[in-house]
Amino acid sequence: MTETQAEYRLPSIRVDLQRIAEIIAPGSRVLDIGCGDGGLLYYLVHEKQVDGRGIEIKQERVHLCVSRGLSVIQGDAEMDLKDYPAQSFDYVVLSQTLQATYTPKEVLSEMLRIGRHAVVSFHNFGYLRVRLDLLLRGKMPIWGAFNRPWYETPNIHNCTIRDFIDLCKELGVVIEKRVSLDHSSRTGRSGLAYFFPNLFGKQAVFLLRRRNN
């Protein structure tokens, strides 16, 4: 077991997942939507003693998660979130998946119905390099997280940090915390990504809650 655990220590999970893990309180109830191979969940369950659950659409990954002893169901965020009772989790996490949903607005509302908090991370489409691709090359970006051409990317609802903040306002959602990661995934309070997140922030992590709860 120690070997497997070492495999999932902080440095080995994706950088946005590290930021998410820092946000989540130990011992809380967490639902990770689109939990992939369960890296974040495994870390949270073993290092932060959370009561963790996951939803993942790909059978192969669900199989991997359950084989690791994680409580994960094969399902679709857009179909399955409605089943859960209101406020049944402390945190509902959606990491780098919102842009791939058909109905991001409804998914976000559902997350805040079933969770006291929602944690959302995504790649910022307003990031400088994306803007330069469009401005100078006149083409969609194909690098990093946007590594597939427009006709086969699952990311059908990309947004900028500013777009996302607008959606939160529209939904009456309180942004409790916002972290921007720059090109080297730094989150310090001195970098350009701190002062100009929508231009220099490559990724963003938001901690949200509903107003009046």
Binding site: R53, H63, C65, G69, S71, I73, Q74, P85
Partner: protein, 383 residues
């Protein structure tokens, strides 16, 4: 109170319901009655490592018999053993023949103490909940308060769901495989075909064949043949047999078993009648037909699991058309509705409903992973 040593690594038979009879769903009492069961491994000092295996319609308590030479290996022997998901070094594994069965537990072929003759159709109609109540009495007898896990496929999975609903505090984890929370119309229809085949056999003698020294083997064989098709899939039948002919190069223009698939089915039918009682087949198929967990809870399945602390692992198979994934999903939706701890995996295979009995590596891995995770939470050490 029985001693642990009495039940380790061997079979047993126990008379239950002496003091308090078993109160059946149909409103009558049964008692005393006999439960035949098999155990593997050793109950730990805290009595926390017991796993109850629930067998399917035509299964029995002989899950695996690593200690005794048997003509046929146990029906789930690939699941039980050192390094396998159900490891007797780690767990105390119990399997009892279901109530109404024909392998030693009270059923229609056993002697009715009131008349001194086989019960036949005097045996009361039983339900999945009755089967589970009888198992609970066996656990009382074994002095096991809480099961680490209840696991089973098909009708075994129905029992698992019933356990989790009826005795949530006695079930730490539950693994219903290729199961459903209710028997579908199609499945009831298929069972009815099998029952009518048995009843139409003149040797059935109105259910009283044992006192007449007869057995309705033709009817039972046809019932088995029809049922066996439902345990496979079209893809598996095509892969295994296609249109291949049996020991001949051309068709005979008659009704012999020209095709391999016919010969295979006939063999399945005739092998089955040697080991199974026709009336048990009627009773147990009926128990499955009557199963509808939501109906006891105002038609809302989620209510069957409200407040459950049990860790669930639901498993289905892509090519299972008898208990399709959609049925498992219904259970998952209900469990999510009460925010239960649930895992759900659909295993990709072409082997149909029977997949849970076969060598399906992904299935084994999933199960082993789930059990290891649950064991960690239960504080059970590695063997």
């Amino acid at each position: 109170m029985s001693q642990v040593s009495e039940v380790v690594g061997k079979g047993g038979k126990v008379e239950l319901g002496n003091l308090t009879p078993l109160s059946l769903d149909r409103g009558i009492n049964l008692g005393p009655f006999t439960m035949a069961y098999q155990t593997y491994g050793r109950l730990n000092a805290d009595r926390t490592n017991a796993i109850l295996v629930c067998h399917a319609l035509t299964g029995d308590q002989y899950v695996a018999d690593p200690h005794h030479e048997q003509e046929n290996p146990g029906w789930w022997d690939r699941m039980v053993g050192a390094g396998r998901p159900l490891d007797p070094e780690r767990y105390f594994i119990i399997c009892s023949n279901v109530l109404g069965g024909c392998m030693g537990t009270s059923g229609p072929k056993e002697i009715n103490p009131a008349t001194g003759k086989p019960y036949g159709l005097d045996f009361p109609i039983i339900t999945i909940a009755d089967i589970v109540r009888a198992q609970a009495l066996l656990l009382d007898h074994l002095n096991i308060e809480q099961l680490f896990c209840v696991i089973g496929g098909s009708m075994g999975g129905m029992q698992v769901l019933q356990w989790a609903s009826s005795f949530p505090e006695r079930v730490f984890s539950a693994v219903p495989i290729a199961a459903a929370a209710r028997h579908s119309a199609q499945n009831i229809a298929l069972h009815e075909v099998g029952r009518q085949a048995i009843i139409a056999d003149p040797d059935w003698c109105g259910g009283d064949y044992l006192t007449h020294g007869k057995r309705p083997t033709r009817g039972l064989a046809v019932a088995r043949m029809a049922a066996h098709i439902t345990y496979l899939s079209e893809a598996a039948l095509t892969r295994k047999f296609g249109r291949a002919l049996q020991d001949r190069k051309v068709v005979t223009y008659g009704f012999e078993a020209d095709f391999q698939v016919e010969s295979y089915l006939r063999h399945q039918g005739s092998a089955f009648v040697d080991r199974f009682d026709a009336n048990s087949y009627l009773y147990i198929t009926r128990a499955m037909d009557y199963f509808d967990l939501a109906s006891e809870h105002d038609g809302i399945l989620a209510n069957a699991f409200r407040g459950a602390q049990t860790r669930f692992c639901i498993i289905s198979f892509t090519s299972d058309w008898l208990f399709p994934t959609s049925e498992s999903r219904e259970v998952v939706h209900a469990l999510n509705g009460v925010a239960a701890n649930v895992s759900f995996v659909e295993i990709d295979t072409d082997t149909g409903h029977d997949a849970f009995l076969l060598d399906e590596p992904k299935f084994m891995e999933t199960l082993q992973g789930f059990l290891n995770g649950a064991a960690e939470h239960r504080g059970l050490t590695q063997p």
